[in-house]
Amino acid sequence: MGSSSIRDILTSFSPSLDYFAICSGDARIKIWDVLKGQIQTEFADIASTETTSLFTSKPERGHISVDYTCMKWLSLDRKKKRKLGSSLLVLGTGSGDVLALDVSAGQLKWRISDCHPGGVSAISIATHGSCVYSAGADGMVCEIDPLTGNLIGKFRASTKGISCMAVSSDGKVLATAAGQMKTFNCSDHKKIQKFSGHPGAVRFMMFTEDGKYILSSAVGERYIALWRTDGDKKQSASCVLAMEHPAVFIDGRCIDNEEVDEAGLYVFAISETGVCYFWHGRNIEELRSTKATKISLSSENNKSKNQKSVLPAIFAAKLQGIAKPASVHAFIAFGLLVKPSFQKLVVQSGTDITLSSSQDGVLLPMSQSLVKSKKGLHGPTRVTALDRANAEDALLPLPKILDVHGKKNRHQNSGDLDVVMADLADSKSQDDTVEVEADSEAVCMEDRLRSLGMLCNKDDLTSKAALNSTKFNGVDLDANLPEKKIRAAVSSMTPSNASELLEVLVDMWQSRSYSGKQVLPWIYKILVIHGHHFQSQKSLTGMLSSLFKITKSREVAFQPLLQLSGRLQLIMAQIDKASQDKTQISSYDHKMDESEDEDEDVEEHVYGEIDDESQLSSDDDS
C-alpha cells in the first residue's frame, strides 16, 4: 500500500456538498470548492496561534503542527443549508482538544481544550440532532453544544479507549467501539446492545439512515460487518461484505419498505487503496451473496508507481440518493491530494466504473511531464479546423426544390393530403420513402404513362417480336426500304406469316420501340395485300380493332399538337431573340408564370413526340 494509502487523510463534505474539507496529516486544512474544483481557503495554524502555550509543552511536535485525528462538518441551521455561515467544521486533535471552525468566516468558533486526555478518536453528529458527540482514548463520550462549544454532558462508555463512535440520524442511539461495539441510549446513557466480532479497533462505523443497521469496519480487516440494531442484546454480525483491502469509509442506505421498487440495502465503501466498493441487495440474504461493484481510477497512471509519489485515489464519497432500483447517485472526490476532482456518478450494481484522473495542477518531475505532454497531444485537445472551402462541402447533396414534381405529387396525393400532413408532425420515415418513390416516378414520363395504362407493359413481347422480325426474310425495319421492295417482300409472304408480322408490327408501334415512320409502311402494305385474308380470319379482328383505335386516337390529338408545336416554335423564336439580346429581364412573377407554362408543356410534349408519327399515319391512312 505504502504511499497510496489514504488511511491518514481526513475528509469531509459540507452538508450541502458544495465544499470539501481535506486534511492530510500536516495540520493544514484545505477547503475545496466542489463546483469550481478550486481551492477556496486553507487553514494552516488556527489552533497554534490562539493557544501557543499548549503546544510549546509538546516538544515532539513542530510548532505549527497539530495532529488532527477526526473531522466532521455539521450544519447548524437546517433551513438555510445554502448559507455557509451556518455550518461548522468540527475537529478533534491527538492532544485531546475539540475545536470548531466557522469555515465561511475563516475563524475559530470555539475550542475545548483537553476534552479527552490522550486524544480525541471520534466525533459524531446526528443529522437531526443538535449536539456534537466526541469520544476519546479515555473511554469517555462528551456531549457538546455546537453553537457555543459548552460541554453539556459526559459519560463513560468504555473502560478502554474508544476507537470509533457513531450516532443514529435521529440522535437517539449512540454506538461506540473499542474492539467490542456497544450501543447506548443517548438520553439516559444506558447500554442497549453489545456486538462482538471485531477483534481489532474499529476504524469506521455508521448507522443507516433509518437506524436499523450499523455498518462497521476495523483496522486490518478486509470486510465490512453489518449489524442489526433491533435484535437481541448480544449479537454477531448479520452480514459480512468482503473487500480486497480494509475499508476507511462506509456509507449506507436502507429502505425497508417492501412496496417501493428501490427497497433494499445499499452499501458504499472506500478501501485503503482508494477504490470504491458498492453493494446492493434487496434484503440481507441477497446482500450477503452479492458481488461488489468497483469504482476505481484508471490504471494507466500507475506508470508512476516506481516514482515515490502519491497515487491518485478516491478519497471520499457520499451516497446522495437512490436513482432507481440497484443504482445510486454518488458524489465522489478523487484524483491526487494536491488537486482533487469531484464528480457525481450514477453507480449501477454490477457495472464497474473506471475513472480517469486528470493531472491538472500537478507539478510533475521531468520524466513524467514528457510522457504527459505526449499524452496530451493524443488527447481530446486535438482541434479540427475547417476553413471556408471545407465548410462548404456537405456530405449530403443540395436539396433541390422541384416545383414541377411537387405539383404533380400534389395532384396525385390530393386525396390523402390531410392524412399525410397529420402524420407529418411525427414525421414517419415511411412518409419520406413514399415521397421519394413518387418523385423518382415523376422523373420519367414514360413510367408515369405506363403506370396510367397509356403504355402497354408488354416489353417482352416487343423484344420477342424484334427477334422474330429478323427471322422474316426481307423484313428489315431499320433499313429505309423503297416502297417497291416492301411490296415485293409482303407479297412473297404467306397470309398466315403476314398476319403474324402484322401483329408484331402493331405491338411495336403501340409500344413505340420503333417509330411509326418505320413500322407504318409495312402495316400499310400488309393490309393492302393481305386485307381480304384478314377479313376472313375471326381471330384477327381484335388486333385490327386495336389498330383502328390507335390510329383514331392519334388522329384526334393531331390538331392540338399542331397548335402546340406552333406555340413552341414561337417561344423558341422569342427565346433565341432574348438570348441574342443577352438581357435577363426575368422578373419573379414572369418566371412563375413560365413555370406554369412549362408544366403544361410537359404533358403536351409527350404527344408532341408522337406528332410526327400520327402525322404519318394519318397521311398514310388518308
Binding site: V383, L386, A394, M421, V436, Y588
Partner: protein, 811 residues
C-alpha cells in the same frame, strides 16, 4: 412547493463598507445587504428587509478600540426607507420611512466624536414632480432627522437634474456633490440643529466632473473629470468656511495670480491638474494618512499618486473598469469594485489582491447590429447552469441553484484590456440539451471593411465539470454572412447553424457519423448538409423535441426539413415581420415563433394543419418551452404606449415586461408575472433535480419543472410556474393580468381575420417536396427562379430528361 430562489445580484452597484474589525465586508446586493468574510471571501449572512435595491450602507464607526466588535449599520434604499441594523445577529432595529427613493446617504455625525442631541443624515433623493401633467424626475439633497425619523422640512441643499451621489470627508466636516461642471461643497456645522444653514462654496471646471474626494486632514479636494484629468484644489473655502470659526486667515482676499489654476474667483488657494487616465475617472480616494491619492477608471488600472510629488505607482491588469474603492478601518485592507461584478480585496501597502468576491458577469455591450435574439444566454437545463458571454471574450458558467460562478471558457485567444476598442465580439452561445457540447460564434469586426471574420466553434466537455475543450473551429461557416442562430439536436450530436446569408448548415460530429468505424481519429464536426429556401435570410432554427424535424425560419415563412436527408417537408406561411426565434412546444404539435420589427408578433402554429393557431401583437424577448409539457412561457416587453398610460402605469413601477405562461392550445395565458428590466432577459425551464433543491422545498412535493427568469442585468429568479401559491406571495412577479384586454382582442381578431388567407396559401405552398439530386438535369431547375439559367439551355436539357429513358430502352 418550492421557494423562490434568487441570485445573480450585482455586488458593485453601490460602494461596499467594511465592518469595524475589517473582518467583514457589507455589500449592497439588490434588495439585500450581503455580509462577506474578508478572510475567505465567502458570504456569511445577509440583511433582508428592503423591498427595492439598497443604495447605501454605512457602518457605525467604533468610537474606541474596545467597541470594535459593535456591528451596527445604516442602510438606505430606493424603496424610500432608511434602516438600522445589528449585522452580527443580523437583526433589524429601526426603520425610517421617508417614502422617496434614496440614491445616496451620508451621516456626518457618525464620523465626529462629539455627541449630538439629534442624528442628522443628508440624503440624495429622486423627487418626482408633476408639471403640466408630465412627470419630471429630479434630484434633491435633503436633510433627514434620523432620531425623530423624519425629513427636515424646507432644508433642500441643492437640486440636480439627476440624483447625485454625496461624498463626505472622512472627518465628516464637508459634504460635496458634483453637478456637471461644478463641484459644490458644504461645511457641516459643528453643532447642528434643524434649521441651521450650511455654508457652501462652488468650484468650477470646464469639463464634466465625474467623481471627487476629500483629503482626510487638510482642506484639499480632488476631482476627476470625463477626460481623465484629476484636479486638486488646495485650501478650498478659505474665505467662506474659516471666517466664522474665528480664525484669522493670514491671507488677504487675493487676485487670480495668487491662486494658480483656480477659475472664476473660486474659493481655493490653488488648483493643480494631473493627467494619466485616458478616459473618465471613476475612482478617487485619499489614503487615510492623506499621503496618497488612488485613482482608477475604465482602463482597469489603479493608480497611486504621491500627493506631494505627483509620483505614480500602478496596480495594472485588474481586467475590468474600476467602479469604486473602499478603505477599511484596518489600514492594511481595502477593496476595489470592478465592472465585471467582482470585488477584490487588496492588501494595502503592497497592492496585492488577496481574495475576490465574484458574482455573475454582466451582459457585455455589443455593437447595435450584433444584438441578437435574447441576451446571448444559454441554459443547461439538466444541471441548471447558465452560460453567459462576458466582456473578456469568455463564457462564464454560472450555477443557478448555488448562485456561484463555476468556470469560464475563453472563447478566443486574445487579451482583454478594458480600455481597448472592441474588435472581437462573441455573438452567440448555444448549449446542447445535455450540456456536453457548446457552440460559440465570434465575429471579428471589420476595420474599414477589411478583416472581418466569423468563426463558429464547437466545444466538448467531459463529464459534468464544464471544462470545455475546443473540438472544432470553422472559419467563415456561411461565407461572409453572419450567423443568426445555432441549435442543437435534442439527442444526437447534430447542430444547425443558420445565417442571414440565406442558407443553413447541418453539422454533425464525427462520433455520430462513424460509430461503426473503428479507426476513429478525431471527434471533429463536419458539414452534413446545406439548405436554403429561396435565398432568403435564415433567421432562426429549431429542432423538434424528438429531433425528427428541423424548423427553419426563412424571414417570414417557416420551413420544415428532415434533418437527416435534408429534404424540405413543408412550408408554413407567413408572419408580418421576420421571425427571430422558433421553438417547438414540448412534444406537442405546436410551434412558437416570435418576430420583431415594426409589427412584432408572437404566433403559435399547429403542425397538423400547417397554419397559425393564434397570435398576439407582442414584442417577445424570450421564449422557453418545457421539454415534456404542452405549455410555454414568453417574456414580452410592454409597449411604450401602455407604459405612459396613467391607468396602468401604477402597476408598472419600473417593470417593463411580463412573463406569460401559455398552454399552446389556448391563447389565454395560464399565468402572468410582471418583471423588471425585461429587455435582454432570458427564460428557461429547468429540470428538477431533487438533491439540488431539497432545502428549498417546503412541503416535500417536487415541482414538474422550474422556470428561470434572468433579466437584462443577469439577476435571476427560479420558481415553480405551476404553483398557485407563488402567484400570490410573489415578490417581483405580481399576479396582474397585464395584457390590455382590447389589444389582445385586436391581435387575436386580426389574425382570425387573416385566416382565410392562410388557408389559401396553404393550398398553394403545401407539400413542396424535394429530393437530393441524382441526375444532372434536375439541378438545373432548382433554386430560386431568378437564378435559373437561360431557357435556351433549360429547354434542351428538359427535353433530354423526357427522352432519356426511352432512348435507353433501344438497343
Amino acid at each position: 412547493m418550492v421557494n423562490m430562489i434568487r441570485g445573480g445580484r450585482s455586488y458593485v452597484s453601490s460602494p461596499p463598507a467594511f465592518s469595524n474589525d475589517a473582518k467583514r465586508l457589507l455589500v449592497c446586493t439588490a434588495n439585500t445587504v450581503s455580509i462577506f468574510s474578508t478572510s475567505t471571501a465567502l458570504q456569511t449572512s445577509s440583511l433582508e428587509g428592503h423591498t427595492a435595491p439598497v443604495t447605501t450602507v454605512i457602518v457605525v464607526p467604533a468610537s474606541s478600540p474596545a467597541s470594535n466588535i459593535l456591528c451596527y449599520c445604516w442602510t438606505a434604499s430606493l424603496d424610500g426607507t432608511i434602516r438600522y441594523w445589528d449585522f452580527s445577529v443580523p437583526e433589524l432595529l429601526k426603520t425610517i420611512n421617508i417614502k422617496i427613493p434614496i440614491y445616496s446617504m451620508v451621516i456626518p455625525y457618525l464620523l465626529g466624536n462629539e455627541k449630538q442631541p439629534y442624528l442628522f443624515a443628508y440624503v440624495s433623493l429622486k423627487v418626482t414632480r408633476e408639471i403640466d401633467s408630465k412627470k419630471h424626475n429630479s434630484g434633491q439633497i435633503c436633510k433627514c432627522n434620523l432620531t425623530e425619523s423624519r425629513l427636515v422640512g424646507g432644508m433642500t441643499l441643492a437640486e440636480t437634474k439627476v440624483p447625485e451621489p454625496i461624498t463626505i470627508s472622512s472627518s465628516g466636516k464637508y459634504l460635496g456633490i458634483t453637478k456637471h461642471q461644478r463641484l459644490s461643497i458644504w461645511k457641516v456645522p459643528d453643532t447642528e440643529t434643524e434649521r441651521i444653514t450650511l455654508k457652501k462654496i462652488t468650484l468650477h471646471h470646464t469639463k464634466r466632473m465625474t467623481v471627487h474626494a476629500f483629503h482626510p486632514i487638510q482642506r484639499i479636494v480632488a476631482a476627476g473629470d470625463s477626460t481623465g484629468r484629476i484636479l486638486i484644489w488646495r485650501g478650498f473655502g478659505d474665505k467662506t468656511f474659516t471666517s466664522d470659526e474665528g480664525l484669522v486667515s493670514g491671507k488677504i482676499p487675493s487676485n487670480d495670480e495668487e491662486k494658480p489654476g483656480v477659475r472664476d474667483n473660486d474659493d481655493a488657494d490653488s488648483c493643480t491638474t494631473w493627467h494619466w487616465h485616458s478616459s473618465e475617472v471613476n475612482v478617487l480616494f485619499f489614503s487615510s494618512d492623506g499621503a496618497y491619492l488612488y485613482s482608477g477608471g475604465k482602463e482597469g488600472v489603479l493608480v497611486v499618486w504621491q500627493l506631494d510629488t505627483g509620483k505614480k505607482k500602478f496596480l495594472p491588469r485588474i481586467g475590468s473598469p474600476l467602479l469604486c474603492y473602499t478603505v477599511s478601518p484596518d489600514t492594511s485592507l481595502s477593496s476595489i469594485s470592478c465592472a465585471d461584478n467582482q470585488i477584490h480585496l487588496l492588501k494595502m501597502p503592497s497592492l496585492e489582491i488577496l481574495k475576490s468576491i465574484s458574482g455573475i458577469k454582466f451582459s457585455c455591450s455589443l455593437p447595435e447590429e450584433y444584438e441578437s435574439f435574447g441576451s446571448g444566454v444559454a441554459f443547461d437545463h439538466s444541471s441548471a447552469l447558465v452560460a453567459l458571454r462576458t466582456d473578456n471574450y469568455c463564457v462564464q458558467f454560472y450555477s443557478l441553484f448555488d448562485d456561484l460562478g463555476i468556470s469560464e471558457v475563453q472563447v478566443c485567444e486574445r487579451n482583454h484590456q478594458p480600455g481597448d476598442d472592441v474588435t472581437v465580439v462573441v455573438t452567440l452561445v448555444a448549449l446542447s440539451q445535455d450540456g456536453s457540447i457548446m457552440s460559440t460564434v465570434e465575429v471579428k469586426l471589420a476595420e474599414e471593411g477589411i478583416g472581418g471574420l466569423i468563426c463558429l466553434k464547437f466545444w466538448a466537455s467531459e463529464s459534468q465539470n464544464k471544462k470545455f475543450t475546443l473540438s472544432t473551429i470553422i472559419y467563415e461557416p456561411h461565407r461572409d454572412a453572419r450567423i443568426s442562430a445555432v441549435a442543437f439536436h435534442p439527442t444526437r450530436r447534430v447542430a444547425v447553424s443558420s445565417s442571414y446569408g440565406g442558407d443553413f448548415k447541418v453539422w454533425v460530429c464525427n462520433d455520430e457519423l462513424e460509430q461503426k468505424d473503428v479507426m476513429l481519429q478525431s471527434s471533429g464536426w463536419t458539414c452534413h448538409a446545406v439548405g436554403s429556401y429561396k435565398k432568403k435570410a435564415i433567421t432562426a432554427a429549431a429542432f423538434s423535441a424528438d429531433g425528427s424535424i428541423l424548423a427553419v425560419a426563412a424571414e417570414t415563412v417557416i420551413t420544415l426539413w428532415d434533418p437527416d436527408k435534408n429534404v424540405l417537408l413543408a412550408v408554413i406561411g407567413e408572419t408580418l415581420t421576420p421571425i427571430v426565434t422558433l421553438s417547438f412546444v414540448g412534444k406537442s404539435e405546436f410551434l412558437v415563433a416570435a418576430s420583431w420589427g415594426s409589427k412584432p408578433q408572437l404566433s403559435v402554429w399547429t403542425m397538423s394543419k400547417l397554419s397559425v393557431s393564434w397570435s398576439y401583437m407582442l414584442h417577445v424577448e424570450a421564449i422557453a418551452c418545457a421539454a415534456d409539457l404542452s405549455s410555454f412561457v414568453a417574456l414580452a416587453l410592454l409597449p411604450e404606449l401602455s407604459k405612459c398610460q396613467e391607468s396602468i402605469g401604477t402597476n408598472f413601477q419600473g417593470k417593463d415586461g411580463v412573463i406569460l405562461l401559455f398552454n399552446a392550445t389556448d391563447p389565454v395565458p395560464v399565468a402572468t408575472w410582471s418583471a423588471r428590466k425585461a429587455k435582454g432577459g432570458a427564460l428557461a425551464f429547468l429540470q428538477v433535480n431533487p438533491s439540488s433543491i431539497e432545502d428549498n422545498i417546503s412541503d416535500g412535493k417536487l415541482p414538474q419543472a422550474l422556470l428561470a427568469y434572468m433579466n437584462g442585468d443577469h439577476e435571476y429568479v427560479l420558481f415553480d410556474p405551476y404553483c398557485e401559491e407563488i402567484h400570490e406571495l410573489n415578490v417581483i412577479p405580481q399576479k396582474d393580468l397585464v395584457v390590455p384586454e382590447e389589444r389582445r382582442q385586436f391581435g387575436y381578431a386580426s389574425i382570425y381575420g387573416e385566416l382565410p388567407e392562410f388557408e389559401l396559401k396553404r393550398n398553394q405552398t403545401l407539400w413542396v417536396p424535394s429530393v437530393p439530386s441524382e441526375k444532372p438535369w434536375e439541378t438545373i431547375f432548382s433554386g430560386s427562379s431568378h437564378n435559373l439559367p437561360p431557357l435556351t439551355k433549360l429547354c434542351s436539357a428538359f427535353l433530354e430528361s423526357l427522352l432519356e429513358k426511352r432512348t435507353a430502352a433501344v438497343e
